[in-house]
């Protein structure tokens, strides 16, 4: 067969990823997903997720071919059931144990067990994030090749617990460190085809914006309280309108600084991610993120919550539109991933209701 294309290359970065979805096309999927999820008391949500991803992946073009989501609702449901059977009894025993101890006046012991259980829960959240990412890569096909990751994730879970605690301890100053370190750790264990991801994000460009986030309560006090105070000095007590306005302004300021940090974080971590010969960049700026979140809020409020099914669509479209890749893919060398495609299919992650990235 000599008509094979052996090399897929591109030099203009903005042509690598293209999202071709249209919201009118997605609407019937969102509506039927919502209806079926309601009438099945939520059980359909695994199949709803699968249909959504099938559409989003199929409408994502990378170089010369589209992505394919190969996961099934059934496997997600089964993964979730397994996690339930393992963890819910444990959780119930711990919970009623704590309750029973507290009722017997053993408050110290109850507190100790509660702390240990809580730490265990944080660790499980770490494991869940790891597995959710691995599952998504293992079900993502391009040119018949899929991704994957090192199995397990328990070491990552322990690291997640430790780094989350360490990051928060010194007044939250080390949170950018824990976030980037965990991102690197997670992605370095993942791969696509024969290649491993190489994640080398650092905190250098992040600290300034993070300090602003930490200082935001101080900024609110510095700028908004005088505003109210001046009103009080100038005349009578500040009117309720001024007070509401000040509170809204405070929220807006904190949201703005938070989005500013998150935008820088995503640019840093994706900008320092490589896969074999490919390098990635992420171009979303603070204003883009704010538009995304405001859009989400308006969508959900405007439809009284019915539009929530479009959040996944908007997130994905946002992500793909701002994602760029540079380099050449040698298709002969793009062999099948050695990582198994099994696993708990996001069971743990759905149990905790968290996403992959």
């Amino acid at each position: 067969m000599n008509m094979a294309a052996h090399d897929a290359g591109f030099d203009t970065p903005d042509s690598a990823f293209v999202f071709t979805g249209r919201w009118r096309e997605f609407l019937p999927i969102a509506v039927t997903n919502l209806l079926l999820t309601i009438v099945t008391l939520g059980i359909y949500r695994f199949w709803a997720t699968t249909r959504t991803r099938r559409y989003l992946w199929a409408n994502t073009q990378f170089i010369d071919d589209r992505l394919e989501w190969a996961g099934t609702g059934g496997e997600m449901f089964r993964g979730f059931l397994v996690v339930l059977l393992l963890f819910v009894p444990a959780l119930l025993i711990v919970q009623s144990g704590i309750e029973a101890l507290a009722m017997r006046g053993e408050l110290a012991l109850a507190g100790l067990i509660a702390v240990i259980a809580y730490a265990g829960l944080i660790m499980l959240v770490g494991v869940a994030r790891y597995r959710a990412l691995r599952y998504r890569l293992s079900r993502t096909y391009w040119h018949g090749i899929h991704g994957g990751g090192t199995s397990g994730g328990w070491g990552y879970g322990a690291s997640y617990l430790a780094k989350s605690l360490l990051g928060a301890l010194p007044l939250g100053l080390a949170i950018p460190w824990s976030m980037t370190a965990l991102w690197n750790e997670r992605w370095n264990a993942m791969g696509f085809g024969p290649h491993r991801f190489a994640a080398e994000a650092s905190t250098t460009g992040l600290m300034g914006r993070w300090l602003l986030v930490l200082a935001s309560p101080v900024l609110v006090v510095l700028f908004l309280v005088p505003m109210l105070g001046l009103g009080a000095v100038a005349g009578a007590t500040p009117s309720p309108v001024t007070a509401v306005f000040a509170v809204l302004l405070a929220y807006a300021l904190i949201a703005l600084l938070g989005a500013g940090y998150y935008a820088a974080f995503m640019r840093e971590v994706i900008g320092n991610l490589a896969l074999g010969p490919l390098r990635f960049t992420f171009t979303a700026r603070t204003a883009d993120w704010i538009r995304l979140f405001l859009g989400h809020a308006l969508l959900v409020i405007g439809t009284l919550g019915l539009g929530a099914g479009f959040i996944a669509y908007r997130n994905w479209a946002f992500f793909i539109r701002h994602l760029e890749a540079m380099g050449h893919v040698d298709l002969d060398a793009l062999t099948q991933s050695p990582d198994a495609t099994g696993g708990d299919a996001e069971g743990l992650a759905t149990a905790f209701d968290i996403g992959a990235i």
Binding site: M1, L36, I38, A58, D65, R104, G105, H143
Partner: protein
Amino acid sequence: MAALYDGQTGVRRDVEVTAADGMLLLSDASGGCKAIPAGELRLVDRQTGGITLMRPGHDGWRLRVPPPVDPAVDGLFPRRHGYGRWIDRIGPGRALLVFAALSAGVVALGFYAPVLLAPLIPESVERAYGNAMVGDFGGHFCRSAKGEQALARLVARLDPGAGDLRVRVVDLPVANAAALPARQIVIFAPLIRDAAGPDELAGVLAHEIAHVRRRHVTQAMVRQLGLGMFAATLGGSVGGNLDGLAQLSFTRAAEREADDDAMAMLARAQISPLATARFFDRVAGEDATTSLPGMTYLSTHPDPAGRAARFRRAGAGAPASPALSARDWQALRRICDGPPTG
């Protein structure tokens, strides 16, 4: 031209696809030809007007036929709705109706089963559950003979047939009272310490006795094990919301019932409900975070200000005498002064 990926490498081969005798024939420009039985292939999707096929057992093998698809090829593979196999099998419209009916049934069952099942729960099961839950309160029961006698007199005045009830005072720092499985009622010491008089305690006690008599405790037990379990597991957020709704209205209904019964009890015993109204006024003023975390049977009471108003209305013009004599009330207030026992 269709695209063929073999799943070994990412190399794409362009092939011509035709169908004959239940076989798919793939031929490329060099004249190479391959026949695969259609039964060995499975449809992945039809999203873009074309079809994508996979080959179970060959990870990553994909044949992507762009539109327009040759009807002879297309006809070899079933047209599915793509909602998931179990929905496709019934059809989406019928699935909506069937599952809506089923879900309504499940919710109704979860809502009413506790009330229906509560009388069927044997006393021994209830006692075992109660013991597992609270045990002996870590030996914090208050014991003083005079205090216990006074409490017994108060209980008997409220409910003349109260011989089967077990009412005790527990010295733990919670300003509350609770009805527990197996006809137990506990009053936490601060509730007595903070009470302005015996009438106030009588109102709270009557409310808890009503919970026991109406088997609300057993219903809550069954509920927690039933619908609560479903909501916490399979239901996800939709189930959780439904459960929250059901739980709220269930306990609110129960609380209202218990309040009505308490008012009737107070009237029968000729105790003024005004003190109870003042108690709720006080609770409404305080921050309502005095209960221990996780004490299911104590939470989700209705708004105390509204309850105060109802008790005040009930107390208008009825004859009344103090719930306990001054001596008994003093004895009850000192019930925790001695060494606690189990």
